[in-house]
């Protein structure tokens, strides 16, 4: 059969009611004339979900720590367990962050540097710092007796949250501005994550690590500021305002 679709024709967005007003009217009429098969509302979903929450199964736990003499974890062990969980989360985030900026670099290399927007050098700079943070956290976890290859519960949850960001960054169709929007989500979370980790290190008395983390946060604040500005400039530019 001879191909009739050699060139893709862009027909415009077909979503939304106004795409086809006559069909939309029929649709509204049909839905309004129907009666729900059950009474109630969105709260019914919440009630049902609540049953599962009440069962109390966790996503997972930290690896078993050696028990103290009394057989129960003391305060220090509890604190250490939480600290390792959050360290593992930041480590996972920085590791994924390195891959996210690799994807952003790939996009920028392919599309070419755009004005406004980050230069290749800008992206390389952030990417290098993400990698350095990952390596620093790897060392930190090892130094305090943890295993940097563990996927802690908070690291696992962070991985679930990052999936959408990765999907945007690795999609060949996403624009630079759309990628920057996704990276803004990552950087906002990352900044808050470092702030929390610094507070935790301080309260647990890890002064040296706290200093290293403060240095990482200073980098991250710069990343956030830059990503926010690039995004804003891109959006204003496209709106021609």
């Amino acid at each position: 059969m001879k191909s009739t679709a050699a060139k893709q024709v862009l027909t415009g967005n077909r979503t939304g009611m106004q795409t086809s007003p006559e069909l939309a009217e029929e649709l509204i009429e049909g839905a309004a004339s129907a009666t729900p098969s059950s009474e109630g509302g969105p709260q019914d979903i919440a009630d049902y979900r609540g049953e599962y929450i009440a069962e109390g199964f966790p996503i997972g736990s930290m690896p078993m720590m050696p028990a103290s003499e009394e057989g129960e974890a003391d305060e220090e062990e509890v604190g250490m367990s939480v600290f390792l969980d959050k360290l593992s989360e930041r480590l996972a985030f920085e590791r994924t962050g390195t891959r996210l900026y690799e994807a952003l670099l790939n996009k920028c290399e392919t599309l070419g540097e755009q004005t406004p927007g980050p230069t290749l050098e800008d992206i390389e700079h952030i990417g290098q710092e993400e990698l350095e943070h990952f390596l620093m956290l790897n060392r930190a976890v090892t130094e305090i007796g943890g295993d940097p290859t563990v996927q802690s519960p908070c690291a696992d949850v962070a991985g679930v949250m990052s999936l959408g960001i990765m999907q945007v960054l690795t999609d060949p169709r996403s624009s630079m501005a759309q990628c920057l929007q996704a990276m803004l989500t990552a950087e906002l979370t990352d900044n808050a994550g470092w702030e929390l980790l610094i507070k935790l290190a301080d309260n647990l008395g890890y002064d040296d690590l706290k200093t290293e983390f403060e240095s990482a946060l200073a980098n991250e604040e710069e990343h956030l500021l830059n990503v926010r500005n690039w995004l804003s400039e891109c959006v204003m530019d496209s709106a021609q305002v």
């Binding site: 049953e51 599962y52 069962e55 199964f57 966790p58 996503i59 997972g60 736990s61 996972a92 590791r95 994924t96 962050g97 390195t98 891959r99 996210l100 900026y101 690799e102 994807a103 670099l105 290749l120 390389e124 990417g127 290098q128 993400e130 990698l131 990952f134 390596l135 790897n138 940097p148 290859t149 563990v150 996927q151 802690s152 519960p153 696992d156 949850v157 991985g159 679930v160 990052s162 999936l163 990765m166 999907q167 945007v168 690795t170 999609d171 060949p172 996403s174």
Partner: protein, 399 residues
């Protein structure tokens, strides 16, 4: 195993009841449950999926006597599959689940290859094993390089992550994917159970990859799933061709039900999570109920004695443990084997003995090989290759 499948009647079909709430229980934990619990869940989901696939295919070709009992048992199998598959948790991403699927293909096939009494069939399983072993490595590279995560958190140190028979050379013409089938009259019952088990597992793997492949945004991920799904389809072709096509549909149904009893019993025997063990035990009884119903059909419709087909007691179950040593030995000895017709040959002879496969492979790979691209220079390292500073952002890297 000492279970006498002729004496143990299991749960009658009319007592095999579910509710939606019961089907959807709290899932297992990706982090805390043993990797082999996940292996068993993925395997048994595959076997239940096969139960439905076989039942539907049979129903379309059979006369009226079989259609209702097929539909009745199929109703229960559908819900068994649901209860089993829904034990996988939501934080297990599609790519992580993929790693789990490949671990099933490695460890379960290794156990089958070791236990298989027929030398030719054992060779077929070892041949397929080395291909799935390679898939684990390719998907692990994808996970590290695109998602920034470590596949070993799924395989939990039980399975090696390194190249097997390279996926790029696994592509074959149909002429080289069919194998000789066992002869039903003389084959060991275990050979029959093995063939259905591995066919089912590979078929579900194929279907899973075909479903989730388009969910990835990254073009190399989409291509890798396209490529490996194609190999899984070849594997289904290979393994299903081991089953004697001269077996009647009812005989095959009987074997399917026996295979399910055999595998649920093995799962129950090895399970470390008590909550999941209860499900395996419950389904042993359900499958015994199905088996006895089909035994009765076999007697009344075919006038044959099920004891002609089935062993009195079931063979030793699949061994749910690491087969690292066996896999490595197989890799060293047989990685260079290629298929030629229904037999195997050294790669140096492939051009002469399997020219159609060479031509087909060259065509498919002519615009690049996803499995080679994704794992270019990849060597699995604890955590991630980033610890070795393998990144565009590493010092001295030319980004």
């Amino acid at each position: 195993m000492t279970l006498d499948i002729f004496k143990e009647k299991g749960t009658p079909l009319d007592k095999q009841l579910f509710t939606w709430r019961e089907l959807v229980q709290a899932p297992t934990s990706k982090l805390d449950d043993d990797a082999f619990t996940r292996v068993r869940i993925i395997l048994m989901n595959g076997l239940e999926s096969e139960a439905l696939r076989f039942s539907h295919a049979t129903a379309r070709m059979m006369n009226g006597d079989m259609r209702l009992p097929l539909a009745q048992i199929r109703r229960v199998e559908q819900h068994q599959q649901t209860m089993v598959n829904w034990l996988l948790p939501a934080d297990l991403s599609p790519l992580e689940t993929t790693i789990g699927f490949e671990q099933v293909a490695i460890e379960v096939t290794a156990s089958v290859a070791l236990r298989e009494p027929d030398a030719y069939l054992a060779q077929v399983y070892r041949f397929g094993l080395l291909e799935d072993f390679d898939h684990l490595y390719r998907f692990s590279a994808l996970m590290d390089r695109v998602m920034g995560a470590d596949a070993n958190n799924i395989v939990q140190n039980y399975s090696d992550i390194m190249p097997g028979r390279p996926t790029i050379v696994e592509h074959r013409a149909p002429e080289d994917n069919l194998r000789d089938h066992y002869i039903s009259a003389t084959a060991d019952p275990l050979s029959k159970l093995h063939a259905i088990t591995i066919t089912a597992s590979e078929n579900q793997t194929h279907d899973y990859y075909m479903t989730i492949g388009p969910m990835f945004a990254d073009p190399i991920a989409r291509q890798l799933y396209a490529e490996i799904a194609s190999i899984e389809e070849q594997h289904v072709t290979q393994y299903e061709s081991l089953i004697d096509p001269n077996e009647s549909p009812l005989e095959q149904w009987l074997l399917h039900e026996a295979m399910e009893v055999y595998n649920y019993l093995g799962c129950a025997q090895y399970e470390t999570n008590p909550r999941i063990k209860e499900i395996w035990e419950r389904f042993v009884d359900y499958e015994l109920g199905h088996l006895h119903m089909v035994m009765e059909l076999f007697k009344t419709i075919e006038n044959r004695d099920p004891a002609e087909i089935l062993p009195q007691t079931l063979p030793e179950p699949i061994d749910y443990q690491s087969h690292r040593q066996f896999v490595r030995e197989t890799l060293n000895a047989e990685v260079d084997l290629r298929a030629a017709g229904t037999q195997f040959t050294h790669k140096d002879d492939e051009a002469d003995r399997a020219p159609l496969s060479i031509a087909y492979r060259e065509q498919m790979n002519s615009e690049g090989s996803p499995s080679e691209i994704v794992a270019a220079g990849y060597q699995w390292t604890p955590g991630t290759e980033l610890t070795e500073e393998k990144s565009a952002f590493a010092k001295g890297a030319s980004a």
